[in-house]
């Protein structure tokens, strides 16, 4: 592919003690690409995307994000992190700050943006996730779906080059899943580069350019949604798909 690579993982391995969590992962994410990573629990998919902004450290191989190699050097890691947005399963909003302040904090404290500019950006992105009226509330006063949308807006305020989603809808009540997925679909439509760990296969089918299936720390299969869902080649993929698509 001709597009510029934003994340490049080469032969990445990671151990937790004796447990081999990631085994020789090779993955390139290009600009504007939407990737969905799925797999059974404990397969290493969350660990992998947490390596992309070094919330977890890999022990061998190379991860290059936006041209910066991730290793133990703090200044490089900080530079990468401020350009990589991350959305967590449990939202992780700052509960002692208002929604607006949650969105303003990053740009003001890390990028040195003025308060006025940060406020405008925050309001713009809150508008985009369709909750501008909640700006002055505290996170606990919002529903789960609203909190997750604030978390997305908070990441967007940093103007990231790529967004990582770590099971963003797993902790939500069923009726709130769609509002978050719609927000994410909207982002994808606007050309945001995204790596999503999710079990929402409908979302994968509709939005992903590439679906990656992981099991036991390895990438077992990858392909376009069409290939992946209609012609999976590995037995483990077939088993996984049959289990989650049963209902």
């Amino acid at each position: 592919m001709s597009a510029q690579a934003i994340i490049e993982a080469k032969a990445v391995s990671k151990w937790y003690g004796q447990f081999h969590a990631l085994k020789d992962i090779n993955l390139t994410v290009h600009k504007g690409e939407r990737i969905v990573i799925c797999g059974p629990s404990g397969s290493g998919k969350s660990t992998l995307i947490r390596c992309f902004n070094r919330l977890e450290a890999h022990q061998s191989g190379d991860i290059v994000v936006n041209g910066v190699a991730l290793h133990g050097k703090m200044s490089d890691v900080a530079a990468v992190r401020s350009n990589v947005g991350m959305v967590f399963q449990h939202f992780n909003l700052f509960p002692h700050m208002t929604v607006l302040m949650n969105c303003m904090a990053g740009p003001m404290w890390v990028k040195g943006v003025t308060e006025k500019e940060a406020r405008n950006t925050a309001l713009k992105f809150l508008e985009r996730v369709r909750i501008p009226e909640q700006a002055n509330k505290f996170p606990i006063q919002l529903s789960g779906g609203q909190q997750q949308r604030v978390a997305i807006a908070r990441s967007l305020c940093m103007k990231p080059d790529v967004m990582l989603f770590d099971e963003p809808t797993s902790a939500l009540d069923p009726e709130m899943v769609s509002e978050v997925l719609e927000t994410m679909t909207g982002l994808a439509r606007d050309g945001m580069t995204m790596v999503c760990v999710t079990h929402e296969m409908g979302f994968a089918r509709a939005v992903a350019d590439r679906v990656i299936f992981m099991d036991a720390g390895q990438i077992v299969e990858e392909g376009t949604p069409d290939e992946f869902f209609s012609r999976p080649c590995h037995d483990r993929t077939k088993l996984f798909l049959s289990q989650i698509l049963k209902h």
């Binding site: 900080a78 992780n92 002692h96």
Partner: protein
């Protein structure tokens, strides 16, 4: 507040069995004491005659009267709304205390004469010794807590040695060790700085543990969210973790502040003219110990109440983001 159960409960002090039990207990209790010499017995003279010769009947009548008054009082308070209940009970307990101090036959003119000096010298010294110590102890506590949580072996070792040592020695001994021990090393130190140093180090050690547990009570996700946005360690600590840890830290820290205020009396042993020192020495010449001790006690209490109020205010402030 505890979790208020929505099951309707009859007010305890209006339940017949409780009222009867309370009455019985108070009756028996006061019958066990010989109250015939008290002023309450004098009030009962029309009923029981000369108190000292009234015998069992007199005892019973006095105890009965007290039990009736007590029970009636409690039952009536039971009807009042919560805020009044709290106020009335506080007031009554306070009156009882004043009645207790009344029995010492304190010389009020003496107190009035010495009080200005007790406040201008004693309270001021106590306040500034504790205030400076509190500030230093808090700084030590933050540093100590971070060190105890760090993965740096040196930092952890130093911090844990420090907390172990200063929590393990009596404060009085630390005061002596610093005041008398440092000159051995060539640092001659005045009484006030020595006292401040001892208090700061001792309370810093206790507060290190409070701050550590407060910081640890914050969800890992807060660190991850902060770091994923590129916040550095100091920024995360200062703007994200500590503000959230404060509501957890404040109640035990308030305890420490109050405790420190009173423990500052220990520096009187090295001759600092603070409240306790003056309370002991001012009454000495005329053998009016009780006057000064009780005055000092009341002053300590009032200062503590101020701290309690400040603590309640801060707790209310931090309650904001928890309200749904």
């Amino acid at each position: 507040m505890l979790y208020p159960d929505t099951v309707e409960a009859e007010i305890l002090v209006h339940k017949p069995w409780f009222v009867a039990t309370m009455f019985g207990v108070v009756l028996l209790l006061f019958m066990a004491f010989n109250m015939s010499g008290t002023s309450f017995a004098e009030l009962m003279r029309p009923v029981i005659g000369e108190p000292s010769v009234s015998g069992f009947y007199g005892r019973f009548a006095i105890a009965f009267a007290i039990a009736v008054i007590f029970t009636l009082n409690v039952v009536l308070i039971g009807f009042a709304p919560l805020k009044f209940q709290i106020g009335i009970v506080w007031l009554e307990l306070l009156l009882l205390f004043i009645a207790f101090f009344e029995t010492f036959h304190l010389s009020l003119p003496f107190i009035r004469e010495k009080l200005p000096f007790l406040i201008s010298q004693g309270v001021v010294t106590t306040l500034y010794v504790s205030a400076i110590s509190i500030v230093i102890a808090s700084v030590i506590a933050v540093a100590g807590a971070v060190a105890k949580l760090s993965s740096n072996g040196f930092a952890y070792a130093i911090a844990s040695f420090y907390t172990s040592f200063f929590r393990g020695l009596p404060l009085l001994m630390q005061v002596y060790l610093i005041y008398l021990g440092l000159p051995q090393l060539g640092f001659v130190i005045n009484a006030v700085p020595a006292g401040i140093l001892a208090l700061s180090l001792c309370y810093g050690a206790y507060m290190t543990e409070i701050f550590r547990s407060g910081i640890q009570s914050i969800d890992r996700g807060q660190w991850e969210a902060s770091r994923s946005m590129g916040f550095g360690f100091t920024l995360t600590m200062r703007r994200i973790i500590l503000p959230q840890a404060l509501p957890v830290i404040i109640p035990p820290t308030g305890n420490q502040f109050i405790s420190m205020l009173k423990d500052s009396s220990l520096v009187s042993v090295i001759g600092v003219w603070e409240l306790m020192f003056l309370a002991r020495t001012l009454g000495q010449k005329t053998f009016q110990h009780m006057e000064m001790l009780i005055s000092a006690a009341m002053i300590y209490w009032m200062l503590s109440i101020c701290l309690e109020l400040i603590q309640a205010r801060i707790e209310r402030h931090y309650h904001r983001s928890k309200a749904r």
